[in-house]
């Protein structure tokens, strides 16, 4: 529709006002998104970027094994797999579950110092990988990918943080016991707990990575607690 100024001043002004309002709304929305992105902590921003980069195949449909952890490939020099495998997911369903849990727990940590939080993530990831390598022969052929081991580590870490806070102590103890028992059950049975509740493609569970993650989360907390006994109090300042 085109409106010429000559057809009617009132109609033209109305149309221009509507158009300006639309543009302003679009700009407002873009500013909100940009503000949100620019407002993201640097570590979260990096994690999001890594996840996007490692999961293009979900859109393209061309799934590849070049980013997952495969012991033989890493031995042959494909070291990048050590860093990319936690961010790689086999399907959108898998990504939503693992990344969702990861970001919920990570952003909810009482620890506010970025370097400490990233240390927790890395330590949980390393322990998860080591546990899978030691206790699961299937990793040789199936490899390992996904954030679930780290998510379990963050759950354990969160629980310990809550134990350290008077008001949340009981919840912290219960959640730590539950996550520990869950991983022990999975190690013994060899199966993921409540796996029948899944309704999407999530690959083949190597449940030993959960136990490793929990050990890593507890270990990371103990390391930081030992170094800074009044740690939580420090982080609140």
């Amino acid at each position: 529709m085109s409106i010429s100024p000559k057809t009617g001043t009132g109609d033209y002004k109305m149309a221009m006002a509507i158009e300006h309002a639309g543009q302003a709304e679009t700009e407002r929305r873009e500013n909100v998104i940009l503000n949100r992105i620019s407002g993201l902590p640097f570590d979260m921003f990096i994690f999001i970027v890594f996840i996007i980069l490692c999961n293009f195949h979900i859109i393209s449909g061309n799934i590849t094994r070049s980013l997952i952890f495969l012991p033989g490939s890493v031995r042959q020099g494909e070291w990048w797999r050590l860093f990319t495998h936690p961010f790689f997911h086999v399907s959108l369903y898998h990504l939503v579950l693992d990344a969702g849990a990861f970001f919920l727990l990570y952003s909810g940590l009482a620890e506010k110092r970025m370097i400490k939080k990233v240390f927790c993530v890395i330590f949980s990831g390393v322990c998860s990988l080591i546990a899978s390598q030691i206790f699961s022969a299937d990793i040789q052929t199936q490899g390992l990918c996904g954030l679930s081991g780290i998510a379990h580590g963050l759950m354990a870490y969160s629980s310990l943080e809550m134990i350290h806070q008077q008001a949340l102590r009981k919840i912290g103890i219960i959640s730590l016991i539950i996550v520990a028992l869950k991983t022990v059950f999975e190690m013994i049975s060899g199966n993921a707990l409540f796996s029948s509740l899944h309704f999407g493609d999530y690959g083949n569970p190597l449940v030993t990575c959960h136990a490793g993650g929990v050990i890593g989360g507890i270990g990371a907390y103990l390391i930081m607690f030992i170094n800074h006994p009044g740690r939580l109090n420090d982080s609140k300042r």
Binding site: S66, L97, G100, L105, Q142, M162, A192, H198, L206
Partner: protein, 688 residues
């Protein structure tokens, strides 16, 4: 889901045969010498091996020189284990400085000609097959103070398994022929030069090439493929030189690993000499079906042959292998051990849970097992089938040399036993000269798979390959059909089940030229699936004349299985003789004999093999100059469905974008409940 698992438990019993033949270092490939003989003057001077792997099959050429340092003419017998699915196609003898190529005749006729010529002192040689055990090359005379040069060539199809190709040059002998062992000694030493050269051409990118045990000595060189029309392929050259002599006592094993993103595919390699000739083809299907993992605990029964033939290093390696497998079990698995020699015995006293404590305790007891007595294979198997838990997936690991001498021992008797129990068998053969035909037949009859291992193999890697197959579903009743152009004489007739990573290989004949539809089908998770693609038979394609021999060998193998199971009849025997003579192959009923050209004419021996060899050598010379050629036919024109009706997919070939072995990724997803818990925890923290 639970019902499906239960159904699988009831039907899906797996029997795995580990046939361990550990070789002592006494017997190997080499010159046979009578143990009572005092004559040591004949020996192997040089042994040069040239292998070419291309288009899904391997050509192995062995060129060797015998030297006689004594003062009289002698006869030399060179023996080596029958390589898997090998067709011996050439035997050449250098007579008066010229190569004379042998011809295939009926076994008795060939032997008579050889003996007549040898008695006259004429240069002659013969290649014979001793059942499944060895090829024997006899050369006469190796003249005093002189050298004699012999060359032999054989072809064998090579399959890719879980993206790993494997070639074995067999030298280690099985040690199963006790009569022969007691009579002959084997001189396995090469006095002068030993060379092993292998050229590997692959139409798909390779990640790794290695020779276990020779990695430091072998020179591995990667060349570039310059074919721009067919895409990038890869060429590797591997050399192993020992100029100061060698011992032919260990197999040489080559592994080559394809890139993990190698797609599922259909490859069709044709051969047709001309417009009016009959064509031959080889089709290789590497399926891309997604096979579900079996996650419940498994019952393992180890059935160990502790007979006298397993003595020495064999029993020690057997027990080590068993302990290795036990230690890799999951804690929800159970195992039991049955031993047999003169009779069978339940060694472990029933099933034991595979906890660390139980595994360690049983491993200590297993290591004390001693060998002695006969081989009651039938009774050992029968004992293993008793007490199986119908609600659990079961696997039976049988360790034997396959040479039963107590109780029923014929192939048909053992087949009948399996039919009674309706079990799936996985034959896992380690070593050479074992009764592979029996074990292949048992595996195929039961719907299982056959895998062999060399003592030079990466044992753990082979076990991992076997585990991947056993831990996943398979494609049931896999089959391939062709429509369009006239296809006939397909072999093998029956394929059976395809396990994870396995390829389907079939040979056939065709007439005419033009398009055809290739239809691959099978049952996956109870659902019948069909994949189709279009292919094309050319009017002429002279690149691979060796396919005719490979086709013939497949037909011969099928006939021999019938003979082993149902007995030899004149009709069946003549079929094998005809196939062997028409296609110039050494079989159980045909041998290859070399005599002087003039003698060939005098005896009326037609030069069929010489003509065939010339055609093959011309094609090989041309191929050597050409880049790698891909014979994939399903690219961008395949389709698959589970309804039986082909539906066009966007791209990616017959199996869409599936990779060649769709082993699921190892993950460990958090569940929906975990997400809920994480959200709730976060809210509680924030509220506080």
């Amino acid at each position: 889901m639970k019902q499906k698992i239960k159904h699988m438990n009831r039907l899906f019993f797996m029997t795995i045969f580990f046939i361990v033949i550990m070789l002592s270092n006494v017997q190997a490939a080499g010159l046979l010498k009578s143990k009572n003989s005092i004559n040591d003057s004949i020996s192997m001077k040089s042994h040069h091996v040239n292998v070419t792997i291309n288009n899904g099959f391997a050509r192995t050429e062995v060129d060797q020189v015998f030297i006689n340092t004594g003062d009289r003419d002698l006869e030399a017998t060179y023996t080596f284990p029958v390589p898997k699915k090998a067709s011996m196609s050439e035997l050449s003898l250098w007579i008066d400085g010229r190569e004379v190529i042998g011809e295939v005749l009926e076994k008795g006729t060939a032997r008579k000609i050889y003996e007549d010529q040898a008695a006259k002192g004429e240069d002659t040689a013969i290649a014979e097959k001793d059942d499944y055990k060895t090829f024997n090359i006899i050369v006469s005379p190796v003249r005093s103070q002189n050298e004699t040069r012999v060359r032999l060539v054989y072809y064998q199809p090579l399959e890719i398994d879980l993206n790993i190709g494997r070639y074995v040059y067999p030298l280690e002998e099985g040690g199963v022929d006790e009569e022969r062992i007691s009579f002959w000694s084997v001189d396995d030493s090469v006095k002068s030069s030993f060379k092993f050269d292998l050229q590997l051409k692959s139409a798909f990118p390779l990640k790794d090439v290695r020779l276990p045990g020779y990695q430091n000595r072998a020179i591995i060189h990667k060349a570039e493929n310059t074919d721009k029309g067919n895409g990038v392929g890869e060429v590797y050259s591997i050399s192993l030189d020992q100029l100061e002599g060698a011992s032919l006592s260990s197999d040489i094993v080559l592994y080559y690993r394809l890139d993990e993103n190698t797609p599922a595919r259909v490859e069709l390699v044709p051969y047709k000499a001309g417009k009016n000739s009959e064509g031959t083809f080889m089709v290789v299907v590497t399926p891309g079906a997604s096979l579900q993992r079996i996650s419940e605990g498994t019952d393992w029964t180890f059935v160990l042959d502790t007979s006298g033939s397993m003595g020495g290093n064999k029993i020690a390696t057997l027990t080590d292998g068993v302990c290795n497998v036990i230690k890799k079990m999951n804690s929800q698995d159970r195992f039991r051990i049955v031993t047999f020699n003169n009779s069978a015995r339940d060694f472990s006293g029933g099933y034991i849970q595979a906890t660390q404590e139980n595994v360690n305790r049983m491993a200590l007891q297993v290591k004390k097992i001693q060998a002695g007595g006969g081989t009651a294979l039938f009774e050992g198997l029968e004992r293993a089938y008793v007490g199986l838990d119908a609600d659990r997936t079961s696997g039976i690991i049988l360790v034997t040399d396959g040479v039963a001498n107590i109780g029923p021992s014929k192939q048909n008797e053992l087949l009948e036993l399996h039919r009674k129990y309706d079990l799936r068998l996985f034959t896992f053969v380690i070593g050479n000269s074992v009764n592979q035909p029996l074990l292949d037949a048992l595996a195929k009859e039961s719907g299982g798979f056959a895998m062999n291992i060399s003592t030079s193999d990466d044992m753990i890697g082979r076990i991992i390959q076997a585990r991947a197959k056993m831990r996943h579903e398979c494609i049931y009743d896999a089959d391939i059909k062709f429509s369009g152009e006239k296809v006939k004489m397909l072999t093998p007739e029956k394929i059976g089940n395809l396990y994870m990573g396995q390829q389907l290989v079939k040979f056939g004949k065709y007439s005419g030229t033009g398009s055809l539809e290739v239809k691959f089908s099978g049952k996956v998770s109870g659902e019948r699936k069909v994949w189709t693609c279009q292919a094309y038979f050319p009017e002429k394609d002279a690149d691979n004349p060796e396919l005719e021999r490979l086709w013939a060998l497949s037909r011969i193998d099928e006939e021999m299985q019938v003979i082993r199971e149902k007995g030899e009849t004149p009709g069946r025997r003549n079929k094998v003789v005809d196939l062997g003579t028409q296609n110039s192959l050494v079989t159980d009923y045909t041998s290859m004999v070399v005599v002087k050209e003039s003698a060939m004419e005098g005896l009326g021996i037609r030069r069929n093999n010489a003509n065939r060899v010339n055609t093959e050598r011309e094609a090989q010379a041309i191929k050597a100059q050409q880049p790698v050629h891909s014979y994939r036919v399903d690219q961008n024109n395949g389709s698959g469905s589970s309804s039986g009706q082909g539906q066009k997919q966007d791209s990616g070939g017959m199996f869409g974008n599936s990779r060649s072995h769709d082993i699921s990724f190892g993950t460990g997803p958090v569940g929906p409940i975990f997400i809920g818990a994480a959200y709730w925890l976060r809210r509680r923290k924030n509220r506080k």
